[in-house]
């Protein structure tokens, strides 16, 4: 399946067909705040120049609230009822490389040893159509974490917009191949393409982040006084974790409908909250925001990589764009970069 293309018109026809076949179609919303369901009244949004949505698309695989089971008590005891399995065929259009890459990253933690089939089932039922990115602002740093505006990592099918408005189509996974075979009428094949990408992809990232350098520093500087200043501005609001495509910490809580029934659910949580690690005894291993901010950086750029061989960050910059205190994660990494370089220079 070489040299595959799809025109904008065919893309719209394809979504109409998918709607007819009851697919759950997801795309960046009109206001670009999040990924929303397309129901026919709105169209899919495939704009390579758009900024990343405010909230990442991870909630399609790891929802804000996921019912784990329902419980019902009566005279005979307690009955547990499995939640309805989420097996609706889903397709996500317009995932940026910094969104799509989060799926294989998250898959590591949800599948080592115990397998979280809530996550797995959603991933299995979803086709991810990635879109080459032509956006870049001062918060973007995907190039610094091993990705790029052209990364196909995590996408099943990857599109690049061309200067005539059509899209070049790359098949990335077997699942993507299967999808294209089922809907081959909507795709066209050309001998060669003399069309250029609509915009040069955004390779103009200006951040000075050398990950190898930073990792080496993190390995040896848990107690460095740098952490006192790094976390100083943090308000502990947790926004960074909620907009992040890779943050996956969660809480498990019970919700009652009435005295005899309710549900247990998995909810998004954040290591930036004081209660996150607080013991029943009152002892709290991470009792200051400075310690909690250090955990955020360490988990993303050291611990997760030590454990699972992947950086827990896609460089999307959402946490920095959204932070009410103006903490810029790429700036923190640049600071670490310069501290570590200075040390090397002084030695």
């Amino acid at each position: 399946m070489e040299n595959l293309f799809i025109t904008e018109n065919d893309l719209n026809r394809l979504t109409e067909e998918l709607l007819k076949q009851n697919w759950n179609i997801i795309s960046p919303s009109e206001d670009n705040k999040s990924f929303k369901t397309v129901d026919g009244s709105n169209k899919i949004k495939m704009n390579p120049e758009a900024a990343p949505t405010k909230i990442s698309f991870k909630e399609n695989f790891f929802p804000r609230t996921e019912p784990l089971f329902y419980f019902k008590s009566n005279q005979k005891g307690v009955e547990l009822i499995e939640p309805r399995s989420c097996n609706a065929k889903t397709i996500i259009f317009g995932a940026k490389p910094c969104d799509a890459a989060s799926v294989p990253i998250l898959s590591k933690v949800f599948n080592w040893d115990y397998r979280d089939d809530f996550f797995n089932q959603r991933v299995e039922n979803t086709i991810i159509i990635g879109l080459a990115c032509c956006y870049s602002d001062e918060y973007c740093f995907c190039n610094s974490v091993g990705l790029s505006p052209n990364s196909e990592n995590g996408s099943d099918i990857f599109l690049e917009k061309l200067n005539d408005g059509s899209f070049e189509v790359k098949v990335v996974t077997e699942k993507g191949k299967g999808f294209i075979e089922s809907f081959k009428n909507f795709f066209s094949q050309m001998e060669t393409s003399n069309l250029l990408p609509a915009n040069a992809t955004s390779l103009n990232e200006k951040r000075n982040i050398d990950y190898a350098n930073i990792k080496n520093w993190l390995d040896n500087n848990f107690d460095n006084k740098f952490w006192n200043s790094a976390g100083e501005l943090c308000l502990g609001c947790g926004l960074c974790a909620f907009v992040c495509p890779t943050c996956h910490c969660f809480d498990i809580i019970d919700e009652n409908y009435d005295l005899s029934c309710g549900r247990r659910a998995k909810n998004w949580d954040s290591c930036q909250f004081e209660l996150f690690t607080k013991h029943a005894s009152g002892h709290n291993p991470r009792d200051t925001k400075e310690k909690r901010y250090r955990q955020r950086i360490m988990h993303k750029f050291k611990y997760y990589n030590d454990r699972f061989g992947k950086i827990l960050c896609t460089g999307c910059g959402r946490c920095s764009r959204g932070c009410p205190a103006g903490i810029d994660i790429a700036g923190i990494l640049e600071d670490i970069n310069s501290i570590s370089s200075n040390i090397i220079e002084t030695i």
Binding site: G77, I252, I253, R264, K266, H279, S281
Partner: protein
């Protein structure tokens, strides 16, 4: 498979240990689950009350007695407050066993020193009964247990049983001021009682659990007695939710206490960031 869905257990017995600590004896509702269930000393589980939530406790009973599972808990938060109100016959959710365990096989042929403080005796009690039920495999057994006051001692009946058993040295202490007029045990903090009892370190494994402050001061006492860092084993009590290495709560450095622990040797702990 739904890894978050618990099995159902029925409360068969309730023991009031102290004014705020209770022990539940639980049995699986489903006989097939009961038949299949197995665990190792030191593992923990997620216990739940439907409508209130889940709580992490060690399995306080011994794997040599699989007819039931026991857990001891102190009333501290929402779930334990609700648990305290439960009665015999009530239902509890149980997910587990989770985590690693004490190296019982490697402990065979050695002297075992048990040190516990407060409700920290619960995980240690599991290993104590495990070794006592396999008594011929172990050499000298010493138990040092302390609590703030006489009223705060848990497993009082078992302390008496251990004290009356041959070949086991059991020393019970309370913090200064916590004794009563008729108190016949020791008075003093656990680390100083350890130094006073002065157990031999040669061919001995020390198993220790208690409040962080007790552990902190008992480590140096043991090192002074000549224990090697590998022969001091403890169990961590980080806050947990999933118990499955997913939710991130018990993360200390690149380890998950719920998966790589809760049992660690002192030499392993020394290399972890100080976040437990």
């Amino acid at each position: 498979m739904n890894i978050y869905k618990p099995e159902l257990m029925i409360i068969k017995d309730i023991i009031d240990e102290t004014p705020d600590i209770k022990t539940f004896r639980l049995q699986f509702k489903d006989p097939v689950v009961k038949e299949k269930f197995n665990f190792k000393a030191g593992q923990f589980a997620e216990y739940s009350i439907f409508g209130e939530g889940e709580c992490t406790f060690c399995i306080a009973s011994s794997p040599t007695r699989l007819d039931y599972v026991e857990c001891s808990f102190k009333q501290a938060g929402k779930v334990t407050t609700a648990m305290k109100k439960l009665n015999i016959g009530d239902t509890i959710g149980f997910r587990g066993p989770y985590g690693n365990y004490f190296p019982i096989e490697e402990m065979k042929g050695k002297n075992i020193l048990f040190i516990a403080g407060g409700i920290g005796l619960a995980p240690v009690r599991c290993v104590i009964w495990n070794t006592l039920d396999l008594r011929e495999y172990f050499n000298d057994i010493t138990i040092i247990y302390g609590a703030r006051t006489v009223n705060d001692l848990v497993y009082k009946n078992e302390l008496n049983i251990w004290q009356s058993m041959d070949g086991i040295k059991t020393v019970v202490t309370v913090d200064p001021g916590g004794e009563k007029a008729d108190w016949k045990g020791e008075v003093g903090f656990v680390p100083s009682i350890v130094e006073k009892v002065s157990p031999k370190s040669e061919n001995t494994i020390a198993i220790i659990c208690g409040p962080p402050i007790m552990i902190k001061f008992t480590f140096p006492a043991l090192l002074k007695l000549g224990f090697s860092e590998e022969n001091i084993i403890t169990t961590l009590e980080n806050r947990m939710k999933c118990g499955l290495g997913k939710c991130g709560r018990c993360n200390v450095g690149n380890i998950y206490v719920c998966k790589d622990g809760p049992v660690f040797t002192y030499s392993q702990l020394k290399n972890l960031p100080d976040e437990f």
